[in-house]
């Protein structure tokens, strides 16, 4: 349970010296309780009090980092509309050490290439998991080296053999991989390896109960850089477990589950696998390990991840300016739309499809759609005219025709008056742009 300000106050030195920022220990305690201050700010707090209070001041789910920037956990809500989801699900592609060297090289090359450009954003998978499926320590070490030598992605080492882990880890320890798998049978040796290398440890139970037990034993050994796996593999059970792990951490502050959770897919067919992974991305997995590595399969998964981890309070925006689509010339049509990324890229896609190089003037509407912007007074003719001036549209083209969205047809008169341009009312929906361009610009 979270501590109250008073609980915290009892543990403070009561010097009321104000060195922590707030004037008194009590004020500082209140700030701590609401998460607005860090305990480190008090130079006089005793080691014992610190130990007691760490639990209360720690985030409900610990942030775990590994490899080249993979960041898991530190989530604070069950539903994205309550605030936002912070650290997008880390997607890791599994490579078996049963594969030949050539097969590993091919798979790694394919995984390295899993980066995508869409709607102005870069999507990418974060890592590669090398799985000691062979059960052979030497094969595992070779496979790990092979992958490490050929990929800059974050690494995950998966074996239940602590000795195999130790020797595979040694040459690549500076890559700071996530390692595992700690189970009830091997956890002491696993903790030693992970602790020695200063890398986070993946812990696997057989269900939530045994996972809690195992985490308790591991944290008793003094190791707390953990990623949790309930051990479940069927979609429904994993959904329940991931939901429970998140709830226990956030709503009950159950410390043993205060670590990010990982999920492993089980489906063989890549399409089934992606759909299964999609459930885990939506519902609370901080990391998903899967086998699929074809672009057409991974793109939909990375897209849903990006969508759900978008901050609901901050719509994604494009720069409000005159954008050129294709090899523009003085004859290019000029379209006006909003700087809401979704709207802008939908329009851009359709303008591209007209195959007529064009300009798009993105009006700063604070990232709202045309209708919302207009209703909020953010799509006013004055503003559009001003932007046309600012970006010197008149110098870029040799005509004076500007196309506005059909939804704001009402501003056409005023805009015409202000800008001196002929205002053409375009279609309401972007999907109408191709046929609109055909009849207006003769493509």
């Amino acid at each position: 349970m979270a501590l109250t300000g008073l609980d915290i106050y009892k543990q403070l030195p009561k010097k009321n010296c104000g060195e922590c920022g707030p004037p008194t220990c009590l004020a500082f305690a209140m700030a701590l309780a609401s998460g607005k201050a860090a305990l480190d700010s008090c130079p006089y707090v005793s080691a014992e009090a610190k130990e007691n209070l760490d639990a209360a001041s720690a985030p409900p789910i610990k942030l775990i980092k590994f490899g080249a920037g993979a960041a898991l956990g530190d989530e604070t809500v069950m539903f994205r509309h309550e605030k936002t989801f912070f650290h997008e699900t880390t997607i890791v592609v599994r490579v078996s050490d049963k594969l030949s060297q050539a097969e590993i090289a091919a798979k790694v090359a394919e995984i390295n290439d899993l980066t995508f450009e869409r709607v102005g954003l870069q999507y990418t998978v974060q890592g590669i998991a090398i799985d000691n499926e062979s059960g052979d320590a030497a094969k595992f070490a070779t496979a790990v080296q092979e992958v490490a030598a050929n990929s800059q992605l974050s690494l995950v080492l998966l074996t239940e053999d602590a000795a195999a882990l130790k020797s595979a880890l040694a040459p690549i320890a500076d890559r700071k991989p996530l390692v595992g798998v700690a189970t009830a049978a091997n956890y002491e040796a696993m903790v030693e390896v992970a602790k020695g290398a200063g890398v986070p440890l993946l812990v696997r139970g057989e269900n939530l109960d045994s996972l809690a037990e195992l985490v308790e034993k591991i944290t008793a050994l003094g190791y707390k850089d953990l990623v949790l796996d309930s051990g479940s593999r069927t979609t429904s059970r994993v959904l329940a477990d991931l939901t429970q792990l998140r709830r226990q951490a956030i709503k009950k502050k159950f410390r043993l589950f205060g670590y990010p959770a990982a999920a492993f897919t089980q489906e063989e067919n890549p399409l089934d696998e992606i759909i299964q992974a999609g459930v885990y991305v939506a519902k609370y997995a901080s990391m998903v390990v899967l086998n699929a590595s074809k672009k057409e399969h991974i793109l939909p998964l990375l897209t849903i991840r990006q969508n759900l981890y978008t901050d609901p309070q901050k719509p994604i925006q494009v720069e409000p300016k005159l954008h050129a689509v294709g090899e523009v010339s003085a004859d290019s049509p000029v379209y006006v739309t909003t700087n809401f990324s979704l709207t802008y890229y939908t329009v851009q896609g359709e303008v591209e499809a007209t195959r007529i190089p064009s300009y798009i003037l993105a009006v700063d509407t604070d990232g709202t759609s045309v209708l919302t912007a207009y209703a909020a007074g953010k799509f006013e003719p004055e503003k559009v005219a001003e932007l046309m001036q600012k970006f010197e549209v008149a110098d870029k083209v040799n005509h004076k025709n500007v196309v506005i969205p059909g939804y704001v047809a009402v501003i056409s008169g005023k805009l015409q008056e202000l800008s001196g341009w002929k205002v053409v009312v375009g279609p309401r929906e972007a999907s109408g742009i191709v046929s609109f361009a055909k009849s207006n610009f003769g493509a």
């Binding site: 539903f79 994205r80 509309h81 995508f116 450009e117 869409r118 709607v119 939530l208 109960d209 045994s210 809690a212 037990e213 308790e216 069927t234 979609t235 429904s236 059970r237 959904l239 329940a240 939901t243 429970q244 709830r247 226990q248 709503k251 009950k252 159950f254 589950f257 890549p270 399409l271 089934d272 992606i274 759909i275 299964q276 999609g278 459930v279 939506a282 519902k283 074809k294 672009k295 057409e296 399969h297 991974i298 793109l299 939909p300 998964l301 897209t303 849903i304 969508n307 759900l308 978008t310 609901p312 979704l342 939908t346 896609g349 999907s431």
Partner: protein, 322 residues
Amino acid sequence: MAVAIVKEKWQSRVGQVVIGATPEQGGTRTHTITIGGDSTLPFLHFEGEVVNRPAVAMEVNDVEPDWHPLLKEPFMDVINDPAAWAKKCVEEFGADLIYLKLTGAHPEGANRTPEQCAQTVKDVLAAVGVPLVIVGCEDDDKDNEVMAAVAEAAAGENLLLGLAQQDNYKSIVAACMVHKHSIIARSPLDINICKQLNILINEMGLPLDKIVIDPMIGGLGFGIEYAYSIMERARLGSLVNDKMLAMPMVCTVGYEANRAKEANVDVDEFPGWGELKDRAILWEAMTATTLLQTGASLLLMRNPEAVRLVKKNIDELMVSNA
């Protein structure tokens, strides 16, 4: 160590809506489909009841639709025969319901008469035993005429008819009441308009268990996150006993997913996106399964392969995790 499972204590549940009517109930369907009824968040069997499995309705058009050739391919032998198309969806692709779009009614298109549309509905009813979801051509005036004719011709069938919208609902609601059908209430991603519309429809006399909410989703990559959060909020609302939000939700998955560029451009044009075939299947399936996680009860879909994936996902999620 026994972990005490955290269960929310919800006060209420999602409303149930029955679609279709058997001969005993005044229709001709071989069976009905019931959606909604859950007393917890989606598929959390450990916490409450997941009463009815979400249903998949496959889209059939009365005129050849303007779809990507790959998407049309499985239907090419039946594309000009809505009855045969519907039969194929049920028998070969496992559609739980048929979603018939009377696009041909559009005044600027084939401009079919209300009588012709009603005949199409009768043909499809005769061809399949599953319940039907029927919408018009998205021209308000024409749709009002068409739906009145359809409702009458299929009186007693308990069709799920659309669309009632804030500025055009009276005529179709009246048709539903007189001829015993249910209705799709569409609102543009807005909880307040959604509730308001349900109240208006209910005030006309149509019971709440005859209303299904269409929250106007966005597809994967094109605003699905807005639908995701609105639907999640609506589901939470129904669980805390907000009766005017407690109707099951229907999602236009096939339409929204397949208008995305990612579901249409070939690998030659966008080498960075991989092969189109699987990408398009997943675009539609992922749109559907993501919305299942918010509480969608009825999915309107197109691609048979995506339907297969989604039905498999539903099978897996209907396994108890209590």
